[in-house]
């Protein structure tokens, strides 16, 4: 992991190099950047260290095969989708139950994100955010405030509130999602009132 001499090259540039000469070596360099994340995602779904390791190797192979077939633009989002689908398939095989395949429209997601970032530049959105924060349930409000506004780590938030680390994380993640929903709702209402 140490001394990656390709650190200065972006994922996109590595992909372009691969598409130019079709040498798997480029994919090796690119995928190595995500080994730990893939191990984490596999563990999250499969709940078994050995199976998670095997899953990462299988995801590597799948990615190498797929990238020879078609062009990918947003590598990280695409890789996440491949990894998640692989894990869901493994779970389906072991449980004999059907699972829904994730097939996000990555291009649209990227566009939506660009729109969101433009929205952020808008001071009015920040006013709405401040208002929405007060509408969260007390636990989420407390954790989001301590984490984002007072810049405390999960551990410090946990020490201060008495919640477990897992609870803190969950309150922050859900609080963040709820804030987005509340803001979007408020913006929608404003549009309708105009």
């Amino acid at each position: 992991m140490k001394g990656d001499k390709y650190q200065h090259i972006t994922d996109q540039e590595l992909l372009e190099k691969f598409y130019a000469d079709h040498k798997n070596e480029w994919l090796g360099i690119l995928l190595q950047r995500y080994t730990l994340l893939l191990l984490g995602v596999s563990m999250k779904y499969l709940k078994n260290e050995e199976q998670a390791k095997d899953s990462v190797q299988q995801i590597f192979l799948k990615v190498i095969q797929e990238l020879h077939k078609y062009k990918v633009e947003y590598f990280k989002s695409w890789l996440y989708m491949v990894a998640k689908n692989h894990c869901l398939m493994k779970l389906r095989e072991s449980n004999g139950k059907s699972t829904v395949e994730v097939n996000d429209n990555i291009t649209n997601k990227a566009d939506e994100e660009a729109d969101r970032q433009v929205l952020l530049q808008n001071d009015h959105t920040l006013d709405l955010l401040e208002l929405s924060l007060k509408e969260l349930n007390p636990e989420q409000q407390q954790c989001v405030t301590l984490f984002y506004l007072q810049k405390k780590s999960y551990q410090e938030v946990s020490d201060e509130t008495g919640f477990t680390m897992l609870q803190v994380k969950s309150y922050i993640q859900n609080g963040k999602r709820n804030l987005r929903i509340l803001i979007e709702k408020k913006q929608e209402e404003e549009k309708n009132n105009k």
Binding site: L39, G40, M43, I64, L119, I172, L179
Partner: protein
């Protein structure tokens, strides 16, 4: 303060490098640094889910070894393919096709010659 509010809504991907992530998981970072990493890991679903999974590994010190093993295996796979292709490229050399063609012509001529000899006899 408004910058802090922006952090809540931001979803721009700013990847945390694996070494820093390992240090975080092993509890070897300061509280300030921890907060920075945690904030960045909330930016995408990929990072969020990976973090949830990584926390479930019993021995966090072993993670680095696992990653190194997986990377070594990946490197072998990607290099092997490259060598195989290089071998194929050698076969793709034009002189090889010319030699095969010449050999076929010689064989055909020999066949015709022998056949004529036998017919004349």
């Amino acid at each position: 303060m408004s910058e802090n509010y922006k952090d809540i809504l931001s979803n721009l991907s700013t990847s945390v490098d694996q070494e820093t992530l390992l240090l975080y998981l092993q509890g070897k970072l300061s509280e300030d640094k921890k907060h920075e990493i945690e904030k960045q890991l909330l930016q995408t679903e990929f990072d969020e889910e990976a973090m949830d999974g990584l926390q479930e590994f019993k021995d966090k010190e072993q993670l680095q070894y696992m990653v190194e093993m997986l990377n070594r295996d990946l490197k072998k796979k990607t290099e092997k393919k490259k060598r195989r292709r290089e071998k194929m490229n050698i076969k793709d050399q034009p002189w090889l096709y010319v030699s095969i063609l010449i050999l076929i012509i010689i064989l055909a001529l020999s066949y015709i010659f022998i056949r004529r000899m036998l017919t004349n006899e």
